[in-house]
Symmetry: C2
Subunit: 364 residues, 2 copies
């Protein structure tokens, strides 16, 4: 499984290296080409549903001044190939330390090695995980109607049944590229806080509604976003987001999950979940469910106004503009635990069932 | 199981409430007594191995000026009793929102309800989890030779085998009070970073050494500390900590795991793991293993000097004083991934096996 998918990357690396080698033999200056990774090269693509790169490229030709970064890029490509062949992986930080053995091509700061890694990633048009570089952060927790299919170190298939963890959960690994899934679930619910996740687990919410609960723990990590993306690509079921009703929940959490981030546009196509829709908590929910609120902070107001003016995602979606304006007029934010005012079971027995009658009304 | 353990708390709550009720009927002013929760009431107890409270108490007598907090404390006790009886739980944040229905006894900020909760917890000499208030944060990840015994919502026993999670892991729930364990493991390894945890999982470290790997993800949460504590109380096996070699790793992570924190001394006896010992990374390891380092930052130096001067734990343990002085003299810190310089398998095949030959040499 893993090898079939990853082999083409190893092949691409070899081809690029061969080209460079051939040019050198002909005494020509070799060149590497990578897409420009900055905001000037980004557009929100409504059709695909995420931030995409425009075609701008940068070229790195081997000269006296580029010799070190050129060598570092080649060493990084070589490391990726070794990892693929050995079926191993390295975290970004480990890759930095490995470079300490590259002589003069060693990195003096991890920031440098991260940049070269991003370049290599963009150059081959794959995500870092396919080069076998894995993130440092873990990915989130899962409970409910899902069987994750993984392999042990001997390649033996393991079926991990996420209905069998009691009050605990399945913790998503940092590398999810090789996982497969079996499920009869009707939808996925992505939840901001560990507290609300534990509440829904406690009340058997996934049993009653045949769903998969995922605790994304704040802004979702790459591994978590990729996991949800691969899950929904394979299962073809809807994903709903249930987060705090504040600008942080709307833009930093939900929008990142849905369309990706502006800073990493070269890999949004792997990490975004364009099908996710926003269940709540919306500003309208505050009125409908008479929820206790907190006043918006300065930073909330600033972030909301910025989003209205500059965020291509918000500018594309009228319902979001309406919701944000409503929030600014009301001057308040709401936490997803606020439903506890009406009793601990209100969220499970009233709010979620009522909302889920009309997913078509969810914010895009 | 759960009920046997928790019933005494419900009984204590009822008794306290009855006393107060009886006093009121006799037209006397009722009083609540709680230990003082601040540094003036704390001592490092070498014998038990954690920060403990001295005997200082504060008394809250019902008067015109204390009527609100008095009422809030009673409502909080009552909520705890309801949760225990219903076999339910509430996060701190949920408890705050529930209070919105307490009329004039409602809290206007979560900080207020947290304080009252801490008072009630200290008053009954139990940890908050026994009152059924659970933390917001999740607890850490587990892989290896451990079977966690939990129950589903119908009370049916569930055995969760932590050898069966592939590249993933068992995610510790926020409430661990009712979990039980089965294991033939020889030791527990508590690991600071998710990246190193994933490395050890990838290389089957727990299989080779018959151990339990726990990713504590930086400063361990209450749930994680309590989990490790309950695990080691039951299994009677050693716990070793493997964290970055810097003051943050030494004091914020390791010391918190071992002796608890100064701010929450009334519950350290539940949350500390006095038996944990420090495997590495030590300043001496930098020399022995020729590890790449980073210069100490200002804040590192300040924290280290503060610890030498003021930290009762450090002042008690000479080997720690020596290690900290060595670090200050060398002027460098080291990350646990630094072993990757010698190859990705070095940590698994060389460093850990070598260290584990002599656990008696570990820092206390």
């Amino acid at each position: 499984m893993a090898k079939q998918k990853i082999a083409p990357v190893a092949k691409k690396i070899t081809e690029t290296a061969k080209d460079i080698h051939a040019k050198i033999l002909k005494s020509k200056s070799p060149t590497m080409t990578t897409p420009i990774r900055s905001l000037i090269n980004i557009k929100y693509q409504a059709k695909t549903g995420y931030f995409e790169m425009l075609g701008k490229k940068k070229h790195r030709t081997l000269t006296v001044s580029t010799v070190k970064t050129f060598a570092q890029s080649l060493k990084m490509m070589s490391l990726a190939k070794e990892l693929i062949n050995a079926n191993d992986m390295a975290t970004k930080r480990e890759a930095y330390y490995i470079s300490k053995n590259w002589g003069k091509a060693g990195f003096s700061e991890q920031a440098e090695s991260d940049t070269i890694m991003d370049d290599v990633e963009a150059m081959f048009g794959v995500n870092r995980e396919q080069l076998r570089f894995t993130p440092e952060e873990k990915g989130g927790d899962v409970a409910g109607r899902l069987i994750v299919i993984d392999t042990d170190s001997k390649g033996k298939k393991l079926k991990i049944d996420c209905t069998r963890f009691g009050s605990g959960a399945y913790s998503i690994p940092t590398e999810v590229e090789n996982l497969r899934f079996e499920s009869q679930a009707k939808f996925v619910l992505a939840i901001e806080t560990a507290g609300m996740f534990q509440r829904l687990v406690k009340y058997d919410y996934w049993k009653k509604t045949k769903c998969i609960l995922i605790s994304i723990g704040g802004v979702p990590t790459r591994a978590c976003r990729r996991f949800i993306r691969r899950l929904t690509d394979q299962l073809k079921i809807p994903v709903y987001a249930f987060v705090d009703g504040d600008p942080y929940g709307y833009f930093n959490i939900y929008r990142t999950l849905k369309v990706g981030s502006g800073r990493a546009a070269h890999l949004n196509k792997f990490f975004c979940v364009p099908s996710v829709r926003f269940l709540g908590v919306t500003p309208q929910d505050i009125i409908t469910y008479k929820l206790p609120t907190h006043p918006l902070k300065e930073v909330d107001i600033k972030r909301a106004k910025d989003a209205l003016r500059n965020d291509p995602f918000v500018k594309h979606h009228k319902p979001w503009q309406k919701a944000i304006k409503q929030m600014l007029e009301m001057g308040v934010r709401v936490e997803q635990q606020a439903f506890a005012k009406h009793g601990l079971d209100f969220v499970v027995n009233k709010y979620l069932p009522f909302k889920l009658k009309n997913p078509s009304k969810f914010l895009p």
